[in-house]
Symmetry: C2
């Protein structure tokens, strides 16, 4: 079967070092599913990992997949051959940029039956990131009434994570404020459920004044944490929580958190699969919940661009697009 990988880390300026290769089909071990991949999505994390040293060549990227279960390992209890599933997977395995992929069943859920493959695959990684941030980090209540009057600021509301985080936060009763910089991103973010979309080209404290927003309970940064670090501290309530998914470029002054006793979390959705934590099955639980909500018409897929054919060129072009940081929603490649 075919896979696309690279033997070393590279920048896009270096040219296209992705190549296609043949690799053996494996037999699933304990907990594993062998999945015939139908579509993948490309995330900013692909472009970041592409630039880190390769431990075992060739390295296959891709942290979102949708497809059909072809074989199941011993002890697999949640899935049968023929099930249509979706998942983000684990950085400990080869990624989804291949025709057939092995995935631990604790990281997989049935795909929503009312979505096409390309719609479904827009959701796992970004959805899991949003679920972990809202429920594990901010620990928002699952009872929307408890969240009445609570507010969240999502920086970069139209990105992949921002798009699904907005939908989930709104469903659970939070007052959702996002940021955007262009007319298209502003409209998209409103469509996702944002009640107020601030213009990120202006000072956000001024934007808060303009819209008469007081400090928020939660800030979720999905864009340039260094740039927003001090501003987020200014805009969050005393004893509020800030989470980011974007690594820092510089060291920061943690004492700035003290005057309001602020909590800061570096959310990273790969932590459970990477450390194979006892509660790793929460990824299956979250994805299963997302499937239910999608089937009930509550959450919508966030795909905005579909590319036909997983080729070396298409993958490179997708990385170029992601690195431009101008994506609205998600880019999906259909196999």
């Amino acid at each position: 079967m075919k896979a696309i990988g690279a033997d070393s880390n590279f920048n896009l300026d270096d040219g296209n070092l992705f190549y296609e290769f043949e690799t053996a089909i494996q037999e699933p071990k304990a907990h594993e599913l062998r999945i015939r991949v139908h579509a993948i999505s490309v995330n900013p994390v692909d472009t970041k990992i592409r630039k880190t040293p390769v431990e075992q060549a060739p390295r296959v990227l891709g942290y979102d997949g949708v497809g059909v279960v072809e074989a199941v390992g011993p002890d697999v209890s949640h899935f049968n051959i023929g099930d249509e599933v979706y998942y983000s997977g684990s950085p400990k395995y080869q990624g989804s940029n291949q025709e057939i992929q092995m995935v631990d069943e604790r990281l997989v859920a049935k795909k929503p039956h009312n979505l096409t493959d390309v719609e479904a695959v827009s959701l796992p990684l970004t959805g899991l990131t949003a679920y972990e941030t809202l429920f594990d980090v901010f620990k928002i209540s699952k009872n929307p009434e408890d969240n009445t009057g609570k507010s969240i600021l999502i920086i970069n509301g139209a990105g992949g994570v921002g798009s699904i985080a907005t939908q989930i936060a709104k469903h659970y009763g939070l007052h959702v404020i996002t940021t955007a910089g262009r007319e298209e991103t502003l409209e998209w973010s409103k469509k996702m459920g944002a009640e107020i979309v601030l213009n990120h080209k202006n000072d956000l404290a001024e934007e808060f004044k303009k819209y008469e927003i007081s400090e928020v309970d939660y800030v979720f940064c999905t864009f340039d944490t260094d740039m927003y670090y001090e501003k987020m501290i200014e805009l969050v309530k005393p004893r509020g929580t800030i989470a980011t998914i974007v690594a820092f470029k510089e060291k920061q002054d943690l004492n700035l958190l003290k005057p309001k006793s602020i909590t800061f979390t570096h959310e990273f959705m790969s932590v459970r699969p990477l450390h194979e934590t006892e509660d790793m099955h929460i990824h299956r639980d979250y994805l299963t919940d997302m499937t239910e909500k999608v089937e009930a018409g509550i959450y919508k897929p966030t795909v905005t661009e579909v590319v036909n054919g997983l080729t070396v060129d298409h993958l490179y072009e997708a990385h170029v697009k992601l690195e431009n940081q101008s994506m609205i929603g998600k880019l999906v490649i259909k196999l």
Copy 2:
């Protein structure tokens, strides 16, 4: 009535700039109690604030008091004249280093009836810090069964905050590991309820191996956060939480939190009174709960040293002792 204050910030090397002065007795305003102070305790925060610029001279320090309610303001609903109470208070008010003090009733609770004044006054500031860290930051369950198998590392177990945090954490079912460096502090920390006391003179990762401790769920730092920052990240579980009450001297690399998606909080118990948050009454609730637990014999006071007479000299000597960082438990001054 008499108070002890200073007109400017000073280091202990500058000599004793505290002085005694007479000040008018005030009438309590809305929410306020006028309290005849019987005893105070001295905390590390007194020595830190002493070194910060004085906004309105003279400044009266002191963030723990016990005494009797002498007068109540309009709207006061929880207290009557003659009630024996204890509190930490608010940095927005003059502190407890005076004969009569004004305190907001939302920050006050009845003193435990089975404790003397000097025993009771050892608890408010350190107890509130421990309650906030355990319940608001770590969000531990109030049902001890839920906490079975969960563990906490408290750095500097024998200090004022460590002593009461150990008792509370143990009562709620956590496995409590502390650090200490001397025979006396080790014994004191065990007496407070620590199951394992590590030697802080050794590398804590080595100490974990020696006692066969795996990563902990929570780390609570009450001593030199810069020194322990990277070590705490090493010792906490994936998706674990670290809290500190000690300000940093240097900027830190927040990306170190990412590989385990760690949450970091700068706990600061003055935040609610400083910002007069809507939930400021939680301080009264926490202190009331502490009173109940003390009266039930569950929590013990942490006083180890009692000085008779609130004088300029005694206060200066107490600051010297606190700055030496060798205190076990709490130092109390009886008026």
